[in-house]
Each structure stands twice: as structure tokens, then as C-alpha cells.
Amino acid sequence: MIVDARGVSRVFSMPAGPVTAVREVTLQIRDGDHIAVRGPSGCGKSTLLHMLGCVETQTSGTLLFDGQDVSRLSDARRSLLRLRHIGFVFQRFFLLPMLTARENVELPMSEAGLPRAARQQRVRELLEYVGLAARADHRPSQLSGGEMQRVAIARALANGPRLLLADEPTGELDETTGAQIAALLDRVNQSGTALVIVTHDPALANRASRVLTMRDGQIESEQVA
């Protein structure tokens, strides 16, 4: 079991009063799982994703990552956990514009302290894996949206995470490019990495083995393929 969330809630203090973004969600994620999270805007999908990725901590309930209670970990330990075991793919890619594709992918490995030779080897493999070996030395501004998202996926896979979290990964892409990214994510999942995708795109959601539908911060339904 990678993630074991039991009755987790997240309440935000707002000037108008407290807002519950996620309400008593219970969810288990195992190696190789392929989960899609759907629901209307503001239903708490991204907040749940951030909690699963140890970026946000729950205000109540228990969330164990690899058996460790995330709420008890220091910020530094949670950073390390994310660096080594979790990969993130964002809707807006968030590639660093001053670095090349190669350097963007290399960055998390460098932070994890991987030796230079091993890093370079792994960057080559990852860029080949996402089909961008030929664009390794291009900056994000020289890449298309789909290519940027491929680089972002390669970066998310850099340290061989057990869990890959994707927040609207096709949100900024056209249908064809979105399908290519979806296929790439499928491949990642088939290689054993657990995948959780937050999406509005039914086509992308339908590729998952489990589809969670959220409403008002709660999991309204779960469909298992």
C-alpha cells in the first residue's frame, strides 16, 4: 500500500468563515493503481491530490504514505518523501524556462544527489521514453505544449517515483496531443507506477481502472473497471 487515507478532511479558514474543501475521504492507493478523480470545479479534487502528494496536510483524519503518518513528518521529511517517491505533473507544466529539456529533467535527480554520470544516463532514457531525445537541448519556449508536458512527465519520473500525481495534465492541450499524453501516462502506469489523475476530460478518466467522482469535498461514487 502506498497511500492509506482514512477519513481525511481539509478545512480552509476564509474571511467569510471556514470552508471544507475535502470532507472525510477514505482512499487506498496500491502499486500499479490507475485512478482518475472527476467532479465539478471546486469540489476538492486538487486539494485531495495535494494531500495525497504530501503537499497539503489534512486538518482531520489519518493519511499514511508508505506506512508513515504524513501529518507527523517535518516539512523537510515531506520534501524528501516527495522527491524520492512522488512525481507531479501540472496543468501548466511549470518547466523552468531558463533550463533546457535535459536540465529540467535532470533537476530532481541533482537535488536527490544522484551522481552526474547516472543522471545523464537516466535523462537520456527518460527523454527517449517520452519521445523527446531529439529536443533535449531545447528550452521550453522552443517546445510545443504537448512537448512541454512530455518533458514535465519525464521530470516527474526522474527519481523513479512509486506514485505519479497529475493535475489536469491535458487541460492546456488539444484533443490529439491530449490523447498522446494520456497514452504516455498509461505506459507509465503499466510499468508499475501508481497513477492518480485529476481531470475533467472523460476520455482521460475512462482510461483509469478506478474512477472517483467527487462532489462537495466527498467521494460521491467509485467506478471500478
Binding site: 516527495r82 501540472f90 501548466r92
Partner: protein
């Protein structure tokens, strides 16, 4: 990629912004460097001027020069001083107003310094008059003088030329007899001011120029000790209670307390202002830069970059801007210092050889320390922004934005 490498790439990403930031720091750093040079420049330069001639004690009638009071019975006093066991030599300096006639044009108004050495020490005779011979030789006879470069140029004199001088040693109203003197050298007078003309010779030469009427007093007696200036100055004070004997260090100390105050104050005020200015502007520069990259920073944090790492990146960026700007500020500062020095030396009564801005290694260290502090303090607020950055909320806002 380490923090410095990362910061470098962040800077290069916006070259115009980076170049302007660095240039701004260079300009402010240059001013800061100059203020540090100014804060001790006069003291160091004055110390150097005083030490240059090899005389380490000054005996005068008043504590500070320029009082107009003279040491009475100066030759007798110098004789007594030279007999002290810790004294190598004593040099009596008596100055007079002089007019040097020219073949064409108005006569030159100059000061004539007459000197006489008294020594019982074997090495005392090696000590020379308080001027440096540039061409020719030093004046030795009663009809010989050395002149400064300005007189030499304006009167077209060279060693071997003759001049007609009228000097007055007692009062301004005295009749001025004309005397022919031989120019044997061209010299540099360390305490000569920009708009002054100076000639020098022996006390006998001064007597010749003044028509034998020099009186018995002197402006100053310079003394060289055998190695213990403080002890020797004390001994002189004991021997001659009516005069003031001060070591070069004491003279500089007194001037430091009085004459140099303005420049020390303006230097400390401007140092504070420039450092504050630099801190404020680099803080704004970094804060805006960080605010523009919040999404990227939040993404890096989500990918597992630690809080310390992103804070280090900001600090490194600040260090790079300030570091590069600081290095550039040194040559710029030296250039600016020479210009400012020229301006300040236009002040009346400032010796030509005295400098307001003097390079010292210590100034370099203080400059580096102040710029390091600037880089750190300027980065504090943007570092706080990235350290407190709520990752999830920032990522959400970036998507909504």
C-alpha cells in the same frame, strides 16, 4: 545544479534586468567604496606625508599648525634637543614671505623655507631637509636655493639659474631688499598647497634673502628619534616646557579629532545611505523577481525541493547580483575616487601631496563585508516569501490566474 548555478541561470534568463541590477550595485558599490576610502584617506595620507621625510617628532609653539605662533630661540632649542640621547637630529624650519622677480610679468609670491640641522648623533647628518629633490641638488650654501616645479616652470628656471628675491622675515611692512640667489635644484615640497609657490634653502640662505633680519624664532623644529618617538617627545617636553612636542601619530590623532571630522562624518552618513539604498533596491528587485516565479517555485517544492534549497536559490541570486556588482564597483570606485579627490583638492590650503581617497586593504575588507551583509539583508524578505510559500495554494492560484 547547485544553488549558484541555478541562480546564475535565473539571472541570465532576464539579461536586461540582471545587467541593470548589477550595474546599479556597481554604481552604489563604487560610492560605498569611495566613502570607505574617504573615511580614513586623509589620516593615512597625512600620516604618510609626515612620515615621508623621516622626521618623527614635531616641536612647535602651538598644538596645531597654522596658529602663527613661533618657537622662540629656535636654534638654541634645537641644540638642546639634539643633545638628548634619544635624538638623531633636529631640524629648524623658519619660513618667510618672498617675492621672486621675473624678467616679464608680475613677481611671484612665494614662501621661503630656511632650514638648519643640529645633530650630535653619527647618523644625524644623513637626514635631509623636508623636501625631495627632483632635479639638481639640495641647497647647501648661503646663496643657494631650491625651487618648486611651479616656480621653475613659470620663471623658466633650471639648476644653475639665478633669481632675484625679496624676502621678509619679520613683518609685512618691512622694506624688501633684492638679493641674488642661485637655484641649485628643483624640489617637491610635501606640504605645499595647490596655489602656493615655495622655495627652500639653508637658514643662512634665508638670512641672506631677508637681509640678515630673521629673528631667533622658528615655525617648527623637526626631530628624528633613534627609535622611540613617544619617549623622545616626552623628553623634549621635559626639556622645553613652553613648546609642544608631538609625534607624527599624535599630530594625526589631533587632526583626526578636529580637522578631518567633516569628511569622516560625510563618509559615515553616505556609507549608511548607500548601504540602505542598495538593500532597499535589491530587496525590491529580488521580491518582484520571486513574485513572478511563485508558480515555478511552488512546483519545485511539490517535486521535492526542500525549503532550504529554494531559500538558498534566492540568497545565491542576491549574492550573484551583489558579488558581480561589487567586483565591478572596485575599478569604478577607484576611477570615481580620483575624480572626487581632484575636486576636493581644490580646497584652499590643502597640500598637493595630500589625498582624500587613499586605497587601503582594510577598506577592501570592509567593502566586502558591507556588500555581503547587503546581499544577505536584501535577500531576507524574498527568502521569507519563498520559505513561507504555501505550495498547494500557489499552484491553485497559478492555474486560476
Amino acid at each position: 545544479m547547485n544553488a549558484i548555478g541555478f541562480a546564475w541561470r535565473s539571472l541570465v534568463r532576464q539579461p536586461a534586468r540582471a545587467v541593470l541590477g548589477v550595474l546599479g550595485v556597481a554604481a552604489v558599490g563604487a560610492l560605498l567604496f569611495d566613502m570607505l576610502l574617504l573615511s580614513r584617506g586623509l589620516i593615512v595620507s597625512m600620516q604618510d606625508l609626515l612620515d615621508r621625510g623621516g622626521w618623527d617628532i614635531r616641536v612647535s609653539a602651538a598644538e596645531l599648525p597654522g596658529s602663527g605662533l613661533r618657537v622662540p630661540n629656535a636654534l638654541d632649542a634645537a641644540d638642546s634637543i639634539s643633545r638628548l640621547p634619544s635624538v638623531q637630529a633636529a631640524l629648524v624650519i623658519r619660513s618667510a614671505l618672498a617675492r621672486i622677480d621675473r624678467a616679464s610679468g608680475r613677481p611671484i609670491r612665494a614662501s621661503f623655507q630656511g632650514v638648519a640641522t643640529r645633530s650630535t648623533h653619527p647618523s644625524g647628518s644623513r637626514l635631509r631637509a623636508p623636501w625631495t629633490i627632483l632635479r639638481g641638488r639640495d641647497a647647501a650654501g648661503p646663496d643657494e636655493v631650491v625651487v618648486d616645479e611651479r616656480i621653475a616652470a613659470e620663471s623658466q628656471l633650471e639648476p644653475g639659474s639665478e633669481i632675484t628675491m625679496r624676502a621678509t622675515c619679520v613683518t609685512d611692512l618691512e622694506a624688501l631688499p633684492a638679493t641674488r640667489l642661485k637655484v641649485v635644484g628643483v624640489a617637491e615640497f610635501p606640504f605645499q598647497t595647490t596655489n602656493e609657490h615655495t622655495t627652500g634653502g639653508t637658514l643662512d640662505a634665508l638670512k641672506t634673502a631677508c637681509g640678515g633680519n630673521v629673528g631667533h624664532d622658528a615655525d617648527l623644529i623637526l626631530v628624528t628619534s633613534t627609535g622611540d618617538p613617544d619617549g623622545t617627545a616626552g623628553a623634549i617636553r621635559g626639556l622645553l616646557p613652553e613648546v609642544t612636542a608631538a609625534t607624527n601619530r599624535e599630530v594625526v590623532g589631533r587632526l583626526q579629532q578636529t580637522g578631518f571630522t567633516y569628511f569622516r562624518q560625510i563618509s559615515s552618513v553616505l556609507t549608511t545611505v548607500t548601504v540602505s539604498f542598495a538593500v532597499l533596491l535589491i530587496t525590491v528587485l529580488l521580491t518582484v523577481s520571486v513574485n513572478q516565479r511563485l508558480g515555478e517555485i511552488a512546483a519545485l517544492r511539490a517535486l521535492g525541493f526542500s525549503r532550504i534549497r529554494v531559500v538558498k536559490d534566492v540568497l545565491a541570486e542576491s549574492a550573484l547580483i551583489v558579488g558581480i556588482g561589487g567586483v565591478l564597483s572596485l575599478p569604478l570606485g577607484l576611477l570615481l575616487a580620483s575624480g572626487l579627490d581632484r575636486i576636493l583638492k581644490g580646497m584652499p590650503g590643502i597640500p598637493v601631496a595630500l589625498h582624500f581617497f587613499v586605497f587601503e586593504r582594510q577598506a577592501l575588507y570592509v567593502h566586502a563585508a558591507l556588500l555581503t551583509a547587503t546581499a544577505i539583508i536584501a535577500a531576507l524578505y524574498p527568502m521569507r516569501i519563498v520559505s513561507k510559500l504555501p505550495i498547494a495554494a500557489t499552484l491553485r492560484n497559478e492555474v486560476i490566474g
